[in-house]
Amino acid sequence: MEKIINDFTINIATANGTGSQSANLILLESLFDMGVPVSGKNLFPSNISGLPTWYILRLSEKGYQAPGDRTHIQILVNPDTWDDDLESLESGSVVIWNSNTKNKTVEREDVFSYPLPMTKLAKGINPKLSKLVTNIIYVGALAELLGIDQECLNLAVTKQFKGKESAIELNIQAIKSGREYFRENLEKCDPYVVAKREITQSKFFIEGNEAVALGCIYGGCQMLSWYPITPSSSIAEGIIAYIPKLRTDEDGKANLAVIQAEDELAAAGMVLGAGWAGGRGMTATSGPGISLMQEFIGLAYFAEIPSVFWDVNRVGPSTGLPTRTQQSDISMLYEGSHGDTQHIVLIPGTIEECFEFGWYAFDCTERFQTPVFGLSDLDLGMNKWACAGFDYPSVDMDRGKVVREKDVFEAFENFGRYLDVDGDGIPYRTLPGSGMDPILYRGTGHNPMGVYSEKPHDYHDLMNRLRRKIDNARDQLPPPILREGEDAEIGILYLGSMENSIQEIDDILLDFGHNVHQCRIRALPYHPEVENFIRRHKVTIVLEINRDGQLHGILRKELPDDIITRVHSVAYSDGLPPRARIYATLIDKKLKEVMQ
């Protein structure tokens, strides 16, 4: 049988709250340490203990990071999903299963079946902790089956249980026990193996939310207000965790205030208060939180208050699938709140961009005096991604048009809070406490001097200046990432975490006979280069993880009439991270429709 090396998918079915996450991360880290190109995805329930959880490890020599089309190796530990998981396997798959599971067995003849008495082995090691140890047993069995280096496993265990000697010992013992049982009682007859690869660049694993948190810390965030919500909480918790190390003086006093708010409305209000007072304030939330913040978002837009909102998108509408991923908040962010609005949205697609946009969001919001959104999603935010290291901010902080000194203020011939002096739509502001141009900020209509007004021309001029201000931002925001060759007629426009599936989608499309170019949008309002990309291609597919094609809708509204017919939507979402073949197939279908 021909070996299949470093190119398969492992699916581990457990229940949450049983320590399976530790076991899975040990596998991920060990494979990574061996130089095997690997990515891991955690599919978890909105629950603390007992509901089904799957962990998907994708090994791919081509570097594909999306979950693959099928499972090659299935670990069965959870009786609740056992039958479904087993039934969905293709012929020739491998099943490693806990033979101590009541009323469960593997009777399929067309799979490679490896029964392991995981519970019994675990009880032999530590009866009290057997539930947790059971999950480490399969790590040992997999290690033996695939040839995972024991040294790398030891290192990963040590990293996972930093400093807890007894836990490290227990876990290494359990891995060895799984390994030994496999070696002594079973015989490998399947083709799957792992092989060490040379590591050309050192990388580490980190979650997108932690990268955003660090970015915010390096962006000079001064106030974080937040209300806990999955999948964004780890941004706030990440910031809190790094404050002692990075934002605290020698007397132990912090220069970043953290306030856990009573709800998302209050969290948003605090962000506006901080921005109004002249500071860098932010919050992190998910779609339901943004829904609650809408009123304040409109106020920030209309009264021109710097404010940063991170949205880690989960599946909506309503409570939706709170622990699954989607790109469905695009329109809500871009056109948030009542009335005519338009907001700047920064959309990272890589772990490095999570950090970069983390700090850049503050420069951006103070430059344009308008709310700025970071749009991440659960897949990017809560899974671990390989990172080569974060780059220090390349530019000094941009504090925008703030008048802080009296002589600067007095040099203005006629100072008005909402007066467009430079023609870029961005007015100058003074700060509370300064005594300069003390005005009453308001969400009601106002004239260029900041005074209440319902006059038609004041309102009309103000709204047009706001549009001009945001429009002017287009070419100053992060430009799209383009991947173009010579002769392709088809362009794929996409955003965010789809970055991790796009190469595989392209390769499948090539198999289908479509040569395509790529353009990843990284900010809204979209950059002029996006329009140019569309002009260079006969057909552009707008690819999104949602039902309605929200980005496509925005493009159709804003593109010049003559190219609107060139853009076509392919949108799909089922809650799971994007699987390349599903999207490639949908694109192929769409192309057949439009290129006839």
Binding site: E262, A277, P432
Partner: protein
Amino acid sequence: MSMRRERAVKLNVINEPKDSYSGGPSSLCPGCGHDLISGMIINAAWENGVEPHRIAKMSGIGCSSKTPAYYLGQSHGFNTVHGRMPSVTTGAYAINKDLLYLGVSGDGDSASIGIGQLIHAIRRNMDMVYIVENNGVYGLTKGQYSATADVGSRKRKGPSNELQPIDLCALAINLGCTFVARSFSGSRKQLTSLLRAAMSHKGFAFLDVISPCVTFNNNSESMKSFSYVKENEVTLHMADYIPHFNPVEEVDVPEGHYRDIELHDGSTIRLETISEEHDPSNAVAALTALHEADTEAKHVTGLLYFDPSKPSLAEDLDLVDKPLLDLEDSEMRPSKESLDALNSEFLS
């Protein structure tokens, strides 16, 4: 000539004329109780000698929340959204804790849409003066009952209110608010003293001021009309404010008939007993006074409760001494070396 003019204008302790504390003309209904309160805010800030530009005027939405335009024209202000003034103030405070935050709201703001934010600002003991201009009706939307309308009270049009009112002072006391007072926009002396004391307080100073709505709720069947409150006000004590920059004078009230309470900035509020002595450090006594007044359909006014011992939000946040607003860029952005160190730590 010029000397004479200087002498003609009375100046406060920081040599500012009262004009430095005034605002624009009011657009409220003639005779509105809120305008009286605005006048007393101007007086209190002037008499206390607060630098006008170091005040931040905060408000929500409603008739009351329009008033920041009518006082303290040299102060920045923020007329925010309905009921959410506390959160905006909290965020501003986190950035600049050195300003005096003066919040004005109404009973719609504070007892309905924003009651949660009020509760949590109290819970955090936010450093601010929080005034409710309480008239029992929604004025700006033309006279619907609010959640503070008294049982049996009848506004100018429609049936009487039969729902239990929310007593914001009782709520504040139960939440452990550190300064709780009730007053009446018709009680110039008492309210000015309470406002001045509130400005000297470190922590959340809550002032529920009954402020009749002359247009929708000033008829004789209303329990928040000028005439009703005047006739049914139970005053706990006379209140006198003695600023820290003036010596505490002897008064002709006999010993034991007044109580001096020292405030955080060294000023004093002197409470002169009228009939029975009220002890503002006793939360149960304060709640009893409120309950008794409620039973008799009266309005009890005065400093109900005071607790100077609780840490305010600033202490809880444990931030650097200077306001975060004054941080240098180099303090806000950690060094390149720190990021290099983190990167290598991640890689190891």
